[in-house]
Amino acid sequence: MFTFAAFCYMLSLVLCASLIFFAIWHITAFDELQADFKVPIDQGNPLHARERLRNIERICCLLRKLVLPEYSIHGLFCIMFLCAQEWLTVGLNIPLFFYNTWRYFHSPTDTKELLYDPASVMNGDTLKFCQKEAWCKMSFFVLSFFYYLYCMVYSLQTGNLSDSWLFQMPILSARITQQPLGERISPACSFHSLYPWI
């Protein structure tokens, strides 16, 4: 059944793909920043210095341009799922949402510009942190991509996620374990119930 939730999942699938691309782009960008080891002698060359500096500034500039789209797309997810009342999905996304907000307003640079300051991004710990962050985000988005896919299919099939077996499973198992042991294995009826054909 095509519900609003299903629509949200479909939309988020598409957007999630773009977020994955963003994250991959971040990873390659940081790799490029880090890899200045190609021609050692060249590093002492003033011409190289200019090129390198431009490179860093260019990369930082591009990275900065991606910050807002990324954060707003993710914010959109949260709002959509909130409206669709997909609480579990909202719960999964909220921590990242808060992290993004925090990062946005507490950028570690001393300028008014957001994040990725060319003057400090090359500091070892900053770069490492950014790399880790990009990898974490990518894995998170990849996982959520499949999760959205799954949820979309189910919401299309059942119209209500809470009816799907994924959500039934825990309830079922809870019921089973709650049954007193004696009742389940009661010798008197067990034979009949389990092997009625005997």
């Binding site: 210095a49 200019r50 710990d125 770069l127």
Partner: protein, 1109 residues
Amino acid sequence: MSSNTGFNSQNGPGGQPYANGPLQNPAVLQPPGPGYNMSHQPPYNPMQAKGPMPPGTGLYNSGPYQPIPPVSSYQAPPGQPMLNRPPMGPPQSTSPCPGPRMPPAHATPPPVSANSYYQHPPAWQYGALPPMGAPPPIGAPPPMATPPLAFVGNHVTSSPSPAPPQATSAGYSAAPSPVFNNAMQSPGPSLPPTSLHRYTHEGSDPPPKNPMAPHTYQPGMAAPYGHPPAGPPPSMRPTPPPMGNATPPLPFGPETDAGHIPTPGNGAQVPNRFDHLETGPKMAGPLPPQQPGPPARHMGLSYPSLPPGYQNTSASPMHHPMHAPTQPYSHAPQSYQQPSAGPSQLSPSLAGLSLQSQTPEALRVVNLLQERNLLPPGPFTPPTPCLPKDLQKINCHPEVFRSTLTSIPQTQSLLNKAKLPLGLLLHPFKDLSQLPVVTSSTIVRCRSCRTYINPFVTFLDQRRWKCNLCYRVNDVPEEFMYNPVSRSYGEPHKRPEVQNATIEFIAPSEYMLRPPQPAVYLFVLDVSHNAVETGYLDVVCQSLLENINALPGDSRTKIGFITFDSTIHFYNLQEGLAQPQMLIVSDIEDIFLPTPDSLLVNLNECKELVQDLLKSLPQMFGKTMETQSALGPALQAAFKLLSATGGRVSVFQTQLPNLGVGALKSREDPNQRASAKDIQNLSPATDFYKKLALDCSGQQVAVDLFLLSTQYCDLASLACISRYSAGSVYYYPSYQQQHNPAGVECFQKDLKRYLTRKIGLEAVMRIRCTKGLSIHTFHGNFFVRSTDLLSLPNVNPDAGFAVQMSIEENLVDMQSVSFQAALLYTSSKGERRIRVHTMCLPVVNSLSDIFAGADVQAITGLLASMAVDRSVTASLSDARDAMTNASIDSLTSYRTSVLTIQQPGLLAPACLRLFPLYILALLKQKAFRTGTSTRLDDRVFAMCQLKYQPLAYVMLMIHPALYRVDDLTDEGALNISERAIPQPRVQQLSVEKLSREGAFLMDAGSVIYLWIGRNCNPNFLTQVLGVPNYAAVPQNMNILPELDTAESQRTRAFVGWLREQRPFFPILHVIRDESPLKASFMQNMIEDRTESALSYYEFLLHVQQQVSK
């Protein structure tokens, strides 16, 4: 090898067995042996030193280093001084064959002592030693040979005397004998009586020791060296019976042969040692034959060496009076300590000893609440890394390269436990009086990590060397085989590159892909009404005129001028013009260069025009009424002008820029200056300056900022232009030609230094460190271009840098790590040069060793830099808390992890005893203080200084030095170029130290105060100040009159000497009670309580409270 063989021969059969005994050693020994083949192939055990590294065994590392240390330690040992010295020097030198390198040679001798240290280790060491011993024969002639003999003799005697049990305990004594035993033994030979005494003192167990004494062949060893000591021996004999045995050494000295004969006896002794080792019996067998004793010791040394290093580090173990007497002893104790660190190695009794009494000075426990006077009387000496002496001797000078921890922890978790910051402080372009410069067509570097060859690499043989940073084995190029200094061939290890930790290469053409840039100087001068009022233009133009020929450069040097107020003025100085032509650009929104070719001119060709301009410039704007300042557009113009060549821009600014791009608004609220709350506006208001600085950096342009102002100028924003372009910042608050002559003089002197000092253009600096360590944060003025590469458009001799490091991989199996800073720059003469500094530090695995190697000044300097970052990114109160916590955490860690006995009070190791004081000083420093009225610009400038000044200058700004100068004497004076410089004692910074009867000089780095007490000695007033009485001391007195009296000469010599030590010019203020400057003088009394800050004692109580939580 010769030495080895020698030993073997002496030992005869034993030699080999011995080796076995050493079991462990085998690895060590063998590797070394082969390693050094170079010239003296086998003999070269010395290689061991280096060889050891390769082996990969933990041992080997120690091997190389250790050898040396032992030596040192031995030498140090007072007891045998005589003997040792001669042996050391000569043996090595004589046995040159053996030691490919100096170290090796040393190594051999030291080993003996070393053994003593490590009794257990000794076993293998013995094995190792044998080889070493062998060499002696060769070297035999002088040192080595003798020693063995001596040993033999000793051994013989000792062997008889030794009580087996004792021996064991002594065993150590045997080996250890070098250490404490050593003390005993060694003394025996050389200074029998004293040594003996010491022994007894030291040794809590006199009896054992005595037995030991006999064993102490080692003494014998010493004796051998000491051949001459023959005299002493006699005395020795008399003293202790065992000693008597020892005395034999004397005979040895004389008769090497005899010594050999004794060997058997030695063997006997040896067994004892072995027993200790535990290999005992077997070993013993073989041992006797050999003169293993000595060799073994050597080996042992290698291992122990590290401990010895300790000894070196700690100046002197003052702790125990007993030790104190003889330095050697002290060493011994220290060595012990280390053993203690390695529990397994020490026998319980030994361990007990070491723990109780044998603490290196650096670890002496100090109760800060009880001991008040902790300041060293003279200049602070940084701790010495506990490396083998020969390595330490060539290690980089601490003023150039300094580490916060002179012992690097093995793992990051250990470092975290110690709670001390790990980092380096560099002063890479420091003016050096001696700098070896090498011209070579090929610069030898590691092929994988590009490290420059340095004194700490290992030569596997003549043709191969092993990189000490990445451990790759590289070939030695043919050219490197020839040593230009000695004009000999085949000794790559004697090349200057391998003998000097600081060296400069003149780079071949492959290091420059474009022609080296000429020196280009552009002066950007503020000529608004405000600027003219201050009168600084006169000074700048005058200084330039005077120094125009002293500007560093060659025939290509270029110069240019820009002035600005609300418009930008360029000066056409083209050759052929009758007079300079001023071109005014009033379109500051879109700056363009009116005549791009003639604004920067060749200094030599157009000198007259330039001089004309400088003479007329101050008058040209005398009547200007323009109050606006378009600094941003002026900087853009300067950038455009220089972007083709790169160079240096000197900006002189006197007010807040308020026109065009980069205009700033006043952000300071004067009412908040004394606020105890958080200080705002420490970060830049605009990123215009930073962006421009990055552009400049890309074009190799550096911007130096001179800020002369009476009002707020938003230095926090303006300083960015220098920070990211590797410039420097000078700030002269309340600069006024008429009203502040002292400030003018200071500006003049600084300007002179600035114009004439060396300059390095289009520079990059790379800092490499041994695999496993990584650099993660840099402090200073530069642009970080890649994770370990700093881009420095200009580098000046007064710039300091700091880096923070972390340990990414465990440094297990490493005895030492190295750091290399390479600075590639173009000199003002158009040469491409590389200045390389290499520092080697030992790796340790116990917390107490880490604490023992802590360099409190370096830690303070690094913490200050970190705190500056923190106050910009977070807040000032955060930074203050972080600093306080740093001291609390490290002392807590020391209390819980290192101290075995918990006592009341605030306990700190002696090496960190000043830590809380320095932290308190930082909290009261201009940059971080709260509650005291501090102008925002002053604060920001102090922060800039903390970040880019070299440590030596920063320390005075943090903790000024206070001297009493009314009673200067020539006692203990330094003699520098025939001037006697009095050296008064450094006083605590507390008002209680001031007395009305005295005169006190406070050296606060950039300013010096001379405080005159109300009842000051009239003699001082008349003889030094030239005034009849106290009341006649003028309010503003900034110079000491040149009187022809001894007192005056002394005082002026002292002040002059203080000033010479730094590149900037500290103003002298003579103050008395009524002086307005008295407040700033008193603010530097950091041990006292102020309205808003704790006194030192209160601070200690606070720390103690937190520590004991």
